[in-house]
């Protein structure tokens, strides 16, 4: 039954994809026969203004690309992901590595703070009451709002972006960990009590596995937010990263590359989320 449903779903997804591609093609296909002229007249004018002729050179695809042009640009980007021709011209792989590195570092720092602190808050009603006002106040602040403060105090743009990732990842992990730890079934804690389990063993063998689904869910939400925020942060600070790549290609008016960057961001985000989905499945227990 569910196999059949999955098959139907996949078929329908494929149909949607075809529909989208067709619509895309319909909206962007040149009205004149291909190969003879450039795309819209506006962009032709612009090209003339910029001193460029309508080019057969695929590097110079201007305006919104057709699906075929996009595929071409994507293939070119993917063929040499790690080339490095100076600060403004790096392969997509290098840019992604910069972004993932920043996210990874900020995220790891956030984990190191949020999970132990969440444990403490979840286990101590006093600490919960003491820290709750701060969490409630700090959590709704857009992480990018911290950027000027970070830049002023840290004075290094890369470290500032890592800090921004840290600050945006910390809250979901902290809140979910505290929530998961506070919600551990009394029965299991009573078992640990009657067995005189040491605090450390209790934390790792009872509370951690019991709260793991909530903690991993928090980590998953944090990762999603971190990946959203890093793009914006890199667009702001510039230099390197997929966000900077996107902004740079916008400045070059290479919409095909912008689209490619957008698609890459989507794919990477999806992979990260799936990975957490798999971990979540591993730690979820049936009662």
């Amino acid at each position: 039954m569910s196999d059949k449903l999955a098959l139907k779903g996949a078929a329908l997804s494929f149909a949607f994809l075809v529909l989208i591609l067709l619509a895309w093609y319909g909206a962007t296909a040149p009205s004149t026969p291909p190969g003879t002229a450039a795309a819209s007249s506006a962009s032709a004018e612009y090209d003339a203004l910029m001193g460029k002729g309508a080019a057969a050179d695929p590097d110079a695809i201007k305006g919104f690309p057709t699906p075929m042009q996009f595929a071409e640009v994507a293939a070119r980007n993917l063929a040499a992901p790690f080339y490095d021709n100076g600060p403004n011209d790096k392969g997509i792989g290098i840019q992604l590595a910069y972004s993932l590195g920043r996210v990874g570092l900020g995220y790891l720092l956030a984990m190191m703070v949020a999970i132990p602190l969440g444990f403490a808050i979840g286990m101590s009603p006093l600490l919960y009451r003491a820290l709750d006002p701060f969490i409630q106040l700090l959590r709704p602040i857009s992480p990018l709002a911290w950027m000027p403060i970070a830049l002023y105090t840290i004075k290094d743009s890369t470290v500032s972006s890592i800090f921004v990732i840290f600050i945006c990842s910390v809250w979901p992990m902290l809140v979910n960990t505290a929530f998961g730890v506070a919600g551990v079934r009394k029965d299991w804690l009573n078992v640990a009590l009657t067995l005189e389990v040491s605090p450390l063993r209790k934390a790792f063998l009872v509370i951690l596995p019991a709260a793991a689904p909530a903690i991993i869910t928090g980590m998953r939400i944090s990762m999603g937010i971190a990946w959203l925020v890093i793009i914006a942060a890199e667009m702001l600070i510039g230099g390197t990263g997929i966000g900077y790549f996107l902004w740079n290609e916008w400045n070059n008016l290479s919409i095909a590359n912008v689209l490619f960057a957008v698609a890459t961001i989507g794919v990477v985000g999806m992979i990260l989320d799936r990975a957490f989905g798999l971990i979540l499945k591993k730690v979820t227990y049936a009662e």
């Binding site: 029965d187 009573n190 078992v191 009590l193 067995l195 005189e196 596995p209 227990y285 009662e287």
Partner: protein, 309 residues
């Protein structure tokens, strides 16, 4: 009973409970009060009473998971202050860790009891108790893959595996069907006979109490609940589930218990509600042996009478 055979003469009971009372919310009447009893080594106690009279609360106080408002508990000559490995608890809700397999649940308990043991030794020791409750085939399963009865048996194996001085069982068979219940009762009897285990158990099942218990404590209704009567099981220790109903004493005990639950638990409450605060002495009854007459409780120790049938 060890008390009878010990040449040293005076042996204190394993557990002495003195004037226990519990008030959950200040200003409300106590759930129970003036609860005093002793449990000898190797003795099997069942406690029966209507829902809400405070049986679980008493058991949790004995387990050290709940603080009494008044009174104290002495175990093995020491005042009891908290939970510990000398008492094995079988929880009403089985309380297995769902992320661990049967084996791991039991190994977790054994490792807590014997941190110095090797992995191998823990596994062997655990396997013995898994076998004891007949779950060897399910040892690698998670609790969610087990039936209610199997889960309950894992809980029992876990409590037994730490070889505690006393077992505390909170309605352990409540959720089981009659057949499984009977089988586990037989297993429990067998294990208790082999290991001279001391047991304190809550049950709602009168027949179960008669089969298992040396003495049955009857609690009156709450609030102000007390232990109204202590019924000595006058049937021989080697009673069997299949044959015990041939014994005329079985009916004497059974009628006495049912009669208490239906009538006397209420009248007792009405009687004591007015006399609240007065020290209370439970009645000791030996149905089928003597006429149901009341005798005041002796200071300590209630050696059950052994009758050759």
């Amino acid at each position: 009973m060890p008390n009878d055979t010990n040449p040293a003469g005076i042996v204190r009971p394993l557990v002495e409970v003195d004037r226990l009372a519990k008030v959950y919310k200040p200003g409300t009447p106590p759930v129970f009060e003036d609860v005093s009893f002793t449990i000898d080594r190797g003795e099997f106690i069942c406690i029966i009473g209507h829902s809400g009279c405070g049986k679980s609360t008493i058991l949790n106080v004995l387990a050290g998971l709940e603080k009494a408002s008044k009174g104290n508990v002495i175990m093995d000559n020491l005042e009891m202050t908290g939970p510990g490995l000398d008492r094995g608890v079988v929880f009403q809700s089985h309380a297995l860790m769902p992320w661990m397999t049967v084996e791991q649940n039991i190994a977790f308990a054994i490792r807590s009891r014997h941190p110095e043991w090797s992995r191998r030794r823990i596994a062997d020791h655990g396997a013995r108790f898994i076998d004891l409750v007949g779950l060897t085939a399910a040892a690698k399963k998670k609790p969610s893959e087990l039936s209610g009865g199997m889960k309950q048996r894992v809980g029992i194996a876990r409590a037994f595996a730490i070889e505690p001085k006393m077992l505390l069982l909170d309605e352990p068979f409540g959720a089981l069907d009659a057949l499984t219940r009977g089988n586990i009762q037989d297993e429990l009897l067998k294990i208790c006979a082999e290991t001279e285990q001391t047991v304190f158990m809550i049950t709602h099942d009168v027949d179960e109490a008669i089969l298992l218990a040396d003495r049955i404590f009857l609690m009156s209704n709450g609030p102000h609940a007390r232990i109204a009567e202590m019924v000595v099981n006058t049937m021989p220790k080697d009673r069997k589930r299949e044959t015990m109903h041939h014994d005329p004493r079985f009916y004497a005990i059974r009628n006495h218990l049912v009669d208490f639950l239906v009538h006397r638990s209420k009248t007792f409450q009405a009687m004591t509600a007015t006399a609240s605060g007065q020290p209370h002495v439970p009645v000791i009854v030996r149905p089928g042996l003597e006429e149901e007459e009341s005798a005041p409780a002796p200071e300590r120790g209630h050696p059950p009478l052994h009758i050759v049938a």
